[in-house]
């Protein structure tokens, strides 16, 4: 009987080691009952378990809402342990802020908890188009560590222009579905009790933004959000767990402005799609982490959106 025991023990150590290697963050309570598990400014890998985006949870008097279940099964499990360490209350809601894999592929870790899964009205289509692709991509980036990772299908949708309230007991989160911005289906949360605006990838800090929705649209959404009353802080999808609002949006706004202005100029002067990435907004891109991996893609996306306006 010693052999199986040893195997179990080794598996246990392996799990610990994996946690240590990933630099697994602990949850930061950025406001009373509002926790963020900070992500790393890296690309997905077996070492970081795709824990590269800020995810977290909000605790009410009766229930817990998860905001993005993580980037992989292992990341989701890590988040679930962080929730269990913070509260014995049940997880009743899982909010998916958008389709990107670092935010949704940890859903598998919450498949058994019976919670409703909330997303933007356009999220199901985005998942239908991309889920399989993201699964293959994660396997390529993480190898065996990606096994079991998958998103949860939304069970409740929020339509643009029709904000909904999420009641956690003594605390209600306002859910807003936005017009195309970072993606074409961004969902944000506002916790009036603490003045915390959970923007996820509508706000990038330090790590270069990635454009996958609409460039002019994103700028408009940011301008609108900057005028919201009663906001003390925001939670970005990438960057510190909490930042001042709207001050922390300034670098993002500057980058998006330069990207739009210089992409329009490139199109007007006949600079082609192949040449534009090396010539558009490179000065503004230089200050951001991972600019080399994303800036060219952003220019390509902006160019394709703006050339047919």
């Amino acid at each position: 009987m010693s052999a199986p025991r040893r195997a179990i023990l080794l598996a246990g150590l392996g799990a610990l080691a994996a946690g240590a290697a990933s630099g697994a963050a602990s949850a930061v309570e950025v406001a009373p009952g509002l926790f963020v598990l900070p992500g790393l400014h890296e690309e997905a890998s077996a070492d970081n378990l795709d824990a590269i985006g800020n995810v977290g949870f909000v605790v009410g008097r009766e229930a817990v809402a998860v905001v993005d279940p993580g980037g992989s099964l292992a990341h989701g499990q890590h988040l679930r342990r962080a929730i269990a360490a913070a509260t014995p209350l049940p997880i009743r809601h899982i909010v998916l802020t958008h389709v990107h894999p670092d935010h949704v592929m940890g859903g598998a870790a919450f498949a058994d908890c019976g919670a409703e899964v909330i997303g933007h009205a356009r999220l199901p289509e985005a998942l239908a188009q991309r889920h399989e692709f993201y699964g293959a991509m994660l396997a390529r980036e993480m190898g065996a560590a990606a096994a079991g990772s998958a998103a949860l299908a939304p069970t409740r949708l929020v339509a643009p222009g029709q904000d909904e309230m999420l009641e956690l007991g003594g605390r209600a989160l306002r859910l807003t579905a936005h017009p195309p911005a970072h993606t074409d289906h961004d969902l944000s949360l506002f916790d009036a009790a603490t003045g915390t605006l959970w923007l996820s990838d509508l706000l990038f800090v330090e790590r270069i933004p990635s454009l996958d929705g609409s460039l002019p649209g994103w700028r408009r959404v940011l301008e609108g959000l900057a005028r919201w009353p009663g906001v003390m802080r925001a939670v970005p999808g990438h960057g510190p767990p909490a930042v001042d609002w709207p001050a922390a949006a300034a670098p993002l706004a500057r980058y998006l402005d330069a990207l739009e202005r210089e992409t329009r100029a490139a199109i007007a002067t006949g600079i082609g799609l192949a040449e534009a990435p090396a010539r558009v907004a490179t000065a503004e891109a230089a200050g951001w982490r991972l600019a080399e991996a994303y800036h060219g893609r952003n220019v390509t996306a902006a160019y394709r959106e703006l050339e047919w306006e």
Partner: protein, 279 residues
């Protein structure tokens, strides 16, 4: 509530997840050596299917194919093909092949009496890591080939840039870009023409029905200047949304550049511009 399709009330894992798909780690670095023999064989088969038993020679400096090593957007990868000044006059057609795409022949450019093929460009969808091949056919029947490996995936099934409705409203609109102005006597200039067309691959999913969007794509373009045909381009689903083509144009200024396009539903689109020097 009209915005809420009926949905399961409890969490449901999407798809089979990775555990059940038997995923295999893929070597992401370089050209996977284990794949090399299969890729060589694939190109041999494709070349035979497209060009028959004619022998092909390595093009060397005569034909240069330029593509990014890693695509920034697999659904719109810019490709450039250049013929050397010595080779260009003898070349009658250039074919661009994307080996691993579902429809590998992306485009065939054929020079008209009023044009040449010395610089060509377009944007393509790339479905998986693949070799791209360019093959030039000379007037005396020789084939010159060159290849380039590209890392890109998912381009054929990538969603449209915008909505299909917006694409339909713009359908057939054309753009002309003349970064260096109209051609002058003895001076060829770069020209880019683009046709607003979803050029759907049949592998994209409809936003509402979640069924495949039927393939709807340009089949052919004919470009003429001052009444003489510059080139014909045969196209297919590997060409990116809003098909875009670049080429060099020579001739007297002040002529009319005309583009006629035909899609697989027999719709015809047409535009013409007078190339008058500015000022």
């Amino acid at each position: 509530m009209p915005h809420r399709p009926s949905l399961p009330r409890r969490p449901v894992l999407l798809g089979a997840g990775l555990a059940a798909t038997g995923f295999r780690p893929v070597l992401a670095q370089g050209i996977e050596s284990a794949e090399a023999p299969r890729r060589t064989e694939r190109w041999r088969d494709l070349r035979e299917a497209i060009f028959g038993s004619r022998r092909a020679e390595p093009a060397g400096e005569a034909l240069i194919l330029t593509a990014p090593a890693r695509a920034l957007d697999a659904a719109a990868v810019p490709i450039a093909i250049a013929l050397s000044a010595e080779a260009a006059p003898a070349v009658r057609a250039v074919t661009l092949v994307i080996d691993e795409n579902p429809a590998p022949v992306a485009a065939r450019f054929e020079a008209g009496p009023g044009g040449d093929l010395r610089t060509l460009s377009t944007r393509v969808r790339v479905d998986a890591y693949t070799f791209l091949h360019a093959v030039a056919e000379t007037a005396d029947g020789r084939l010159l080939e060159t290849a380039q490996f590209i890392k890109a995936a998912g381009g054929c099934s990538a969603p449209l840039g915008g909505t299909l409705e917006a694409a339909r409203q713009r359908l057939g609109r054309m753009r002309l870009v003349l970064p260096e102005g109209p051609p002058g006597p003895g001076r060829a200039v770069p020209v880019q023409v683009a046709v607003s067309h979803p050029n759907t691959s049949g592998m994209q999913i409809d936003q509402l029905t979640r069924l495949s969007i039927p393939a709807e794509f340009l089949r052919a373009l004919r470009i003429s200047y001052r009444g003489a045909e510059v080139m014909r381009i045969e196209t297919d689903i590997s060409i990116a949304e809003n098909p875009t083509f670049g080429f060099a144009l020579q001739g007297e200024p002040g002529g009319e550049l005309r583009v006629e396009a035909l899609d697989n539903r027999d719709r015809r689109f047409e535009a013409a511009w007078m190339l008058v020097p500015a000022g």
